[in-house]
C-alpha cells in the first residue's frame, strides 16, 4: 500500500483537469459524471418533449392534420422510450452520482472508471435508437412496450433491440456502482440506519435495476431471434405464445415504473424536512415502506395484462397484490404530511415542487388504484385514462421531483443561488399547465377514447384541444427552467452559503459551495445532530 502510488494517480488532485476531452470523456470524477448525466437527461427531455408536442399537435383537433398514422406511432413509441430511458432514469443516476458520495462521506463512487462507461454508453445507445427514425425501415412504432407480433413487423427492430441492450448494460453497471458505493464507501459512523432516505431509496432502486433489466434484455432478445433467426417463442403455431412476451416485459416493466419513482420519494424525503425545519416523520417506516413497495413490485406485473384473457385466479391474485401497494405508498404520503405538521415552513421553489409532487402523485396513485380493480380496468385499459394515470405519476411525480432536486442542490453544485423569482414563475406555470394538459385526459379515457390513436371521433374534440393547449404551454414553460439553470450556473451574482438552506442537514451541506472537485478524501467525522434525520434511535 504505497502512498506514492495512490498519490501520483491524483495528478488532478486539486481542481478539474484542463482540456475538454480530458475532463469530460476521460473523467473518473463522480461530480463531473453526474453533471454529464444531468445534461444528457435534460437534452433527452427536450427531444422526447418535442415528440410529445408533435403528438399533441396532431391530436389538437379531429381529422389528420400533420402526419401519417405510422409516423404518429413512431412518435408515441419514441417519446416514451426517450423519456423513460433517456430523461427520467439518467436524471436519477446523475443525482445519485452527484449526491450519494457527498451524503455518505465517500471520496468518490466505488468504481469510478465503470461509472464513466455507464454514462458514455447512453449517448451512443440513443444515437442508435433515434437513427431508426431516418432509416428506410422506420423507427419502432409498436409502442414502448413493443408487443409481438406487431413489433416483429417493424423494419429496423434490430437497432431498437440493440439500443435497449446498451441501455440495459449502462443501467446495470450504474446500479452495481451505486450499491457498492453505499455498502462499501460510507464514512465510519454512517450506519445504514443513519443514511439519508434518498440514499436508501437509491440502494433499493439499484437492486431493482439489477434484478429486472436483464429480464428486459431477455425479452427483446427473444424478439430479435423470433424476427431474424426463426425461433418460435411468440408464435402459437410453433407452440409459443405472444402473451409470454407480455409477461416477461411487465416483469421488468412494473418494477421499472417504481425505479422511476423510488428515488423521487427519496428526494421528497430530503426536501420536505429541510423546509419544514423538522426531522422526517417516521424515518424507519419510510425506509421500510420503500422496501415493501420494491418487494411488491415483483408480484403485480400482470395488472398491465388484465385484458389479455388471463385465468380468473391470476386476475384475482394480481388485483389483490396491486391494491396492496397503496398501503406502503400511503404511509409515505402520510409521513410527509406529518413532517410538515408542527414544522416551521417556508416555501422556496424546491418545496413548492415537493408539495405539488405530494398532491399530484397521489392523484396519479388514486387512478392507479382504480385501474387495479379488474372489472373497472376492462373499461379503462388502453384508454386515455391510463395515459392520464401514468403522466400524473411520471411527470408530476418523477419529473417534478427531479426538477425540485435540481433547484434544491443547484446552489451546492454551482455555488450560486438561482433566481427565486423565476423559479416560482417556472413552478406556477408548470403546475397549472400540467393539469390543464393531463387532467382532461381522465375524462377522455372514461368517455372511451383509446390511447395510441392519431385521430378520434368529434365527441373527444373539446378535451383534446384543452389538453393540447396545456401541453404547448407546459412545454414552453420548461424553456424558463433552462433559462434559470443557465443563469444560475453562469450569470447569477448571488453566492450560495455552504449550508444554502437554513434547515438543511446532512453531510452534503458541510462542504463548501460550490462543492470542490474532490471531497471527503479523508472520511469525515459523523456527528449525529448533523444527520439529515436527527437521532433515529426511537
Amino acid at each position: 500500500m504505497s502512498y506514492a502510488a495512490t498519490h501520483d494517480q491524483h495528478d488532478d488532485h486539486h481542481g478539474a483537469p484542463k482540456g475538454f476531452f480530458q475532463r469530460w470523456c476521460m473523467s473518473t470524477n463522480h461530480k463531473d459524471i453526474g453533471t454529464l448525466y444531468l445534461i444528457f437527461s435534460l437534452t433527452m427531455l427536450f427531444i422526447g418533449g418535442s415528440f410529445a408536442m408533435l403528438i399533441r399537435a396532431e391530436l389538437f383537433k379531429p381529422g389528420m392534420q400533420l402526419m401519417q398514422p405510422y409516423f404518429f406511432n413512431e412518435m408515441t413509441a419514441m417519446h416514451a422510450l426517450v423519456m423513460i430511458f433517456g430523461a427520467i432514469m439518467p436524471a436519477f443516476v446523475g443525482l445519485g452520482n452527484w449526491m450519494i458520495p457527498l451524503m455518505v462521506g465517500a471520496p468518490d463512487m466505488a468504481l469510478p472508471r465503470m461509472n464513466n462507461l455507464s454514462f458514455w454508453i447512453l449517448p451512443f445507445a440513443f444515437l442508435l435508437l433515434l437513427s431508426t427514425l431516418f432509416l428506410p425501415g422506420g423507427g419502432p412504432a409498436g409502442g414502448w412496450t413493443m408487443y409481438p407480433p406487431l413489433s416483429l413487423q417493424s423494419g429496423s427492430l434490430a437497432y431498437a433491440v440493440f439500443a435497449i441492450h446498451l441501455m440495459g448494460i449502462s443501467s446495470i453497471m450504474g446500479a452495481i456502482n451505486i450499491i457498492a458505493t453505499i455498502l462499501n464507501m460510507r464514512a465510519p459512523g454512517m450506519d445504514l440506519m443513519k443514511m439519508p432516505v434518498f440514499v436508501w431509496s437509491w440502494l433499493i432502486t439499484a437492486f431493482l435495476l439489477i434484478a429486472v433489466m436483464p429480464a428486459l434484455a431477455g425479452a427483446v432478445t427473444m424478439l430479435l431471434t423470433d424476427k431474424y433467426f426463426g425461433t418460435n417463442f411468440f408464435n402459437p403455431g410453433g407452440g409459443g405464445d405472444p402473451v409470454l412476451y407480455q409477461h416477461i416485459f411487465w416483469f421488468f416493466g412494473h418494477p421499472e415504473v417504481y425505479i422511476m419513482i423510488l428515488p423521487a420519494f427519496g428526494i421528497i424525503s430530503e426536501i420536505v424536512p429541510t423546509f419544514a425545519r423538522k426531522p422526517i416523520f417516521g424515518y424507519k417506516a419510510m425506509v421500510f415502506a420503500i422496501a415493501c413497495i420494491a418487494f411488491l413490485s415483483f408480484i403485480v406485473w400482470a395488472h398491465h395484462m388484465f385484458a389479455v384473457g388471463l385465468p380468473l385466479g391470476a386476475e384475482i391474485f394480481f388485483m389483490y397484490a396491486t391494491m396492496l401497494i397503496s398501503v406502503p405508498t400511503g404511509v409515505k404520503v402520510f409521513n410527509w404530511v406529518a413532517t410538515m405538521w408542527g414544522g416551521s415552513m417556508t416555501f422556496e421553489t424546491p418545496m413548492l415542487f415537493a408539495i405539488a409532487f405530494i398532491i399530484l402523485f397521489t392523484i396519479g396513485g388514486f387512478s392507479g388504484l382504480m385501474m387495479a380493480l379488474v372489472p373497472a380496468d376492462f373499461q379503462y385499459h388502453d384508454t386515455y385514462f391510463i395515459v392520464a394515470h401514468f403522466h400524473y405519476v411520471l411527470v408530476t411525480g418523477a419529473l417534478f421531483a427531479i426538477i425540485g432536486a435540481a433547484y434544491y442542490w443547484m446552489p451546492k453544485w454551482t455555488g450560486n443561488m438561482y433566481s427565486e423569482f423565476w423559479g416560482k414563475v417556472h413552478f406556477w406555470n408548470s403546475v397549472i399547465w400540467v393539469n390543464v394538459l393531463f387532467f382532461p385526459q381522465h375524462f377522455l379515457g372514461l368517455a372511451g377514447m383509446p390511447r395510441r390513436i392519431p385521430d378520434y371521433n368529434v365527441a373527444f374534440a373539446n378535451f383534446n384541444m384543452i389538453s393540447s393547449i396545456g401541453g404547448f404551454l407546459f412545454g414552453a414553460t420548461q424553456l424558463i427552467f433552462v433559462g434559470v439553470l443557465i443563469h444560475c450556473a453562469f450569470f447569477s451574482k448571488k453566492k450560495a452559503t455552504d449550508r444554502v438552506w437554513e434547515g438543511a442537514k446532512g453531510l452534503e451541506w458541510t462542504i463548501p459551495s460550490p462543492a470542490p472537485h474532490h471531497t471527503f478524501e479523508v472520511p469525515p467525522v459523523i456527528n449525529d445532530d448533523e444527520l439529515a434525520h436527527g437521532h433515529v434511535n426511537d
Binding site: 502512498y3 495512490t6 464513466n116 458514455w120 451512443f124 434490430a158 464507501m185 431477455g218 407452440g239 409470454l244
Partner: protein, 295 residues
C-alpha cells in the same frame, strides 16, 4: 467501512471507458445493419461488426492490463477489494436474472402455452376453434407446436453426451476449488496443475457441446426452427455455451497470471472472481440438464 487509513484508490482519468463505449456501439451497429440487410444485398454491416468485435477485445486487453498494473503497484487496499467483490457478485446476480428470463420462458411454455394449445385447462376454446387436431406434448411429438414448425425431429438423449458434460463441469468445479485452496496455501505448482485441468475440462465440454449441436442439426433435425422446443433448447444451451467459452478464456488468463506470480495468498481477487463465475456457469448447467434434457 473504510477503516483503512490509506486513501481509497480513485484512478486518474482514463480513456478506456470512452473507447469501450465507442467499440460497443460499433459492434451493435454493425450487427444491426447486417441483420437488416436485404437478403440479396451485401451491406457493410458485417465488416463493421468484425471491426467492433476486434475493438472490444482490444479494449478489454488494454483496460484490464492497466487494472492489473495498478493491482501489482499495490494501489488496491482491502476496501477497494471489497468494491470489486461486490461488483462481481452483483454482476453474477444480473446474469442469473438474464438466464431467469429464458428459464421463465421455458417453464411458461411447458406449463401453460403448450398445454393450452392442446386444450387443457384455460385452453379449451383455443383448442376447439383453432388447433383441434393438436395433442399437447413436449419433446419430439408436439414440442414444435400445432404447425409442426421445423418438421419432425428427435431430441438429444439426456444420458449420453449431456450426462458426460455434467460430469465434466462438476469435476471442473472441484478442480477449480482445489486450485483455490492451493492458492491460499501457496502451492504454486498445485495451482497451475488444477487450474490447467479446469481449463482443459472447460474446453472438452465445449467440444462435446459443439459435437452435440452438429449431430442435432445433421441427424436429429433438431434445429433452432423446431418450434418452441428448438427455440428454448438452443437459446438456453447456446447462451450457456457462450458463458462457458468466456469462463474458459478467463480461466486461461488467470492461469497465465498465476504463472507470472500475480497472486498471493491474501490478494487474489481476480482468481476468486473467475472462480465464482465458473461455479455460476456450473449451476446454470445443472438447471439445464434437469429441465432441458432430463424432464
Amino acid at each position: 467501512m473504510g477503516q483503512q487509513h490509506d486513501a481509497y484508490f480513485v484512478p486518474a482519468k482514463s480513456y478506456w471507458p470512452f473507447v469501450a463505449a465507442v467499440v460497443m456501439f460499433t459492434t451493435v451497429f454493425g450487427a444491426a445493419h447486417w441483420l437488416n440487410a436485404e437478403p440479396g444485398e451485401t451491406g457493410f454491416g458485417k465488416s463493421v461488426l468484425i471491426i467492433g468485435v476486434i475493438g472490444v477485445l482490444g479494449m478489454f486487453f488494454g483496460w484490464f492490463r492497466s487494472v492489473i498494473n495498478e493491482s501489482l503497484a499495490g494501489n488496491y487496499n482491502s476496501q477497494v477489494d471489497t468494491s470489486f467483490r461486490m461488483g462481481m457478485m452483483w454482476f453474477i446476480f444480473s446474469e442469473v436474472m438474464f438466464f431467469g428470463a429464458f428459464f421463465g420462458a421455458l417453464f411458461y411454455i411447458r406449463m401453460f402455452s403448450v398445454p393450452w394449445l392442446g386444450g387443457h385447462g384455460h385452453g379449451v376454446l383455443t383448442h376447439e376453434f383453432l388447433w383441434s387436431d393438436y395433442t399437447a406434448a413436449w419433446g419430439a411429438n408436439g414440442g414444435n407446436g400445432p404447425e409442426q414448425a421445423g418438421g419432425a425431429f428427435r431430441t438429444v438423449p439426456a444420458w449420453g453426451l449431456p450426462l458426460l458434460n455434467t460430469v465434466i463441469l462438476l469435476t471442473s468445479s472441484v478442480t477449480v476449488t482445489i486450485a483455490h485452496h492451493a492458492l491460499r496455501a501457496g502451492h504454486r505448482g498445485k495451482i497451475l496443475l488444477f487450474l490447467g485441468l479446469t481449463v482443459l475440462l472447460g474446453a472438452t465440454f465445449l467440444y462435446f457441446q459443439a459435437h452435440e449441436y452438429i449431430e442435432a442439426y445433421k441427424e436429429l433435425n433438431l434445429t433452432l426452427h423446431s418450434g418452441v422446443y428448438g427455440s428454448t433448447f438452443f437459446m438456453l444451451t447456446g447462451f450457456h455455451g457462450m458463458h462457458v467459452t468466456l469462463g474458459t478464456i478467463m480461466l486461461a488468463v488467470i492461469w497465465l497470471r498465476v504463472l507470472k506470480g500475480h497472486f498471493n495468498k491474501d490478494h487474489h481477487f481476480g482468481f476468486e472472481a473467475v472462480a465464482w463465475y465458473w461455479h455460476f456457469v456450473d449451476v446454470v448447467w445443472l438447471g439445464l440438464f434437469m429441465f432441458v434434457y432430463i424432464l
